[in-house]
Point group: C2
Chain length 325, copies 2
């Protein structure tokens, strides 16, 4: 189980290895949104997303003899890159199992971070079987993307930073909107805020039609998405909240929010113009909710976690072409 | 005259008002460039460029009765926005004199920061006469973009931060490449490094064909650019080094470097992909030099100041289309 003590121990291990990302704001963005918005720019984290925190926390928590044999992960996205770099910095092998139709640049980047990439055919091969065989043969430890207590703790270190940065700004009451897939980042931040900034409340933000977490929170029990494709926010599409993350979110989080793909693209263009940061669609949904959803308490500022910035140029160009003027 | 004491006094006045921008790096960028590169991300500064530092320093240094009457600046770019916001935050009027053919978004942004914008016709009207008349009538103080001792001191606060951030990373010998127009940022940083990081050496970077500072440094005396248009790096095109900035640069700076417009665009695309920051062409020339120019001492890391990120979407799209794959 992940509790605040685990988050704080992860923060100790991450110190000096993970970037303390800035909390950005812009008077022109506030003017556009008609509210005070602060953006936790995790797109500036190593490997371009918060995933590096969880990967570092999980790898650094392994007993040395286990860690030295190496780690394995299934991912074609931000988790792959986070695990690859965290493993390389620990000097241990990393195997990342990716679908052979993953974008070439993601495969190349994962390799460039030092990982061995094993490609499989989505249609004919069983990813889990490949992974299990490799893990058995080489003694690799599987690093799951969110349902791992140390991964949740690592993501929660972003919440400790938010609590400290908000205190410096005199913000003691605010919603903290978090881009949410399986809930690792949301639940970790919620734990950190409960202890370090009890007036700040984590709320998950998801793409419309893929709001399994929002519906699960409303129902008090796991709900599933009907489909897993069809949103531009691919980085945060998951079937259902995690087994470990959901109880934490249920206890601590406010109601979930959803935004459309167009709103995510629009938020990317506004972040480009006013904050000069690069966001991917799935990393922009929290900012989109901050901008386009009516605040529950209009006088309070809002904090949006910009969780990642690994975006194909073509998608970024679409955002600028449609919303960049 | 600007000396280190003036820079340090400016740093005191800026504390809590100006963003301490991060020093970013990326293993994949290093791999591409075959050297260790650190990027001082001044594009994340308020108003999207370092100009806010100098504006704040100059305005906060004015005696209160003078300051309260307001300030005036001539600029269609980053200096305009820096002065506008710094004045607004001081609660004083700001008048910005801009050409009527300036991009609509820049005029709108300057107004949105709270300034009064006076438009003039480049062909038929005399900018300086308009400015002098306004300044006389209203008792406004002119804030020059670089040839002002307090502006230089304000820009130099970025150099104090670089010295501190480099020390934390164990970097004690490195070139610090600075995007250079009139030399306010370059000379201010050079003063800060002389005192706080004597192993770090500031070097100006300019667009090819507009290398007045590099040629002036080589000649030991002021040289002029033959033309003032024709580069995409409009933010840093100036006729000749400043009267106040050049003596400082001559005493402290290493040789100047130049890059092509295409190299600046390529650096923008690499900053997008690997650092997830938005740079304008003039704000990317130092990074371009770090990437594309052979290092004098290959084993040393290099620090590049990314000075601004106010870029039209169309120019950014061009950078991604040509160099973003």
């Amino acid at each position: 189980m992940t509790d605040i003590h685990r988050v704080e121990r992860a923060a100790e291990r991450l110190k000096g290895h993970v970037r303390r990302t800035p909390l950005l704001n812009s008077p022109l963005l506030d003017r556009f949104a008609r509210r005070r918005i602060f953006v936790k720019a995790e797109c500036l984290q190593f490997t371009g997303s918060f995933k590096f925190r969880g990967a570092w926390a999980a790898i650094s928590a392994l007993p040395a003899p286990v860690r030295d044999r190496g780690v394995i992960a299934f991912s074609s996205g931000n988790h792959a890159q986070g695990v690859a770099l965290a493993a390389a910095r620990h000097g241990i092998p990393a195997v990342i199992v990716m679908p052979s139709d993953a974008p070439a640049v993601k495969i190349a980047n994962t390799r460039a971070y030092g990982a061995e990439v094993i490609l499989y055919d989505r249609e004919t091969e069983d990813r889990d079987a490949i992974g299990e065989k490799l893990a058995d043969e080489r003694g690799l430890t599987l690093i799951k993307p969110f349902d791992n207590p140390e991964v949740i703790a690592g993501q929660g270190t972003a919440g400790i930073e938010i609590a400290e940065q908000a205190a410096l700004l005199g913000i003691d009451m605010a919603d903290v909107l978090v881009c949410c897939g399986g809930g690792g980042l949301t639940s970790g931040i919620a734990l950190a805020l409960e202890r370090h900034a009890p007036g700040l409340r984590a709320r998950p933000v998801e793409p419309e039609g893929f709001d399994d977490v929002a519906r699960s929170l409303a129902a008090g029990a796991h709900r599933k998405n009907e489909r897993l494709t069809g949103s531009i926010c691919d980085a945060i599409i998951t079937p259902t909240p995690g087994q470990l993350t959901f109880p934490i979110m249920k206890r601590l989080c406010g109601p979930g929010l959803t935004v459309s793909d167009d709103e995510a693209l629009h938020a990317m263009a506004l972040a480009f113009a006013h904050l000069r940061i690069v966001l991917e669609p799935g990393g922009a949904v929290a900012l989109a909710a901050a901008i386009f959803r009516k605040p529950a308490r209009p006088d309070e500022p809002v904090i949006a976690v910009a969780s990642g910035g690994n975006v194909d140029p073509s998608v970024f160009i679409e955002a600028l072409n449609r919303f960049g003027s």
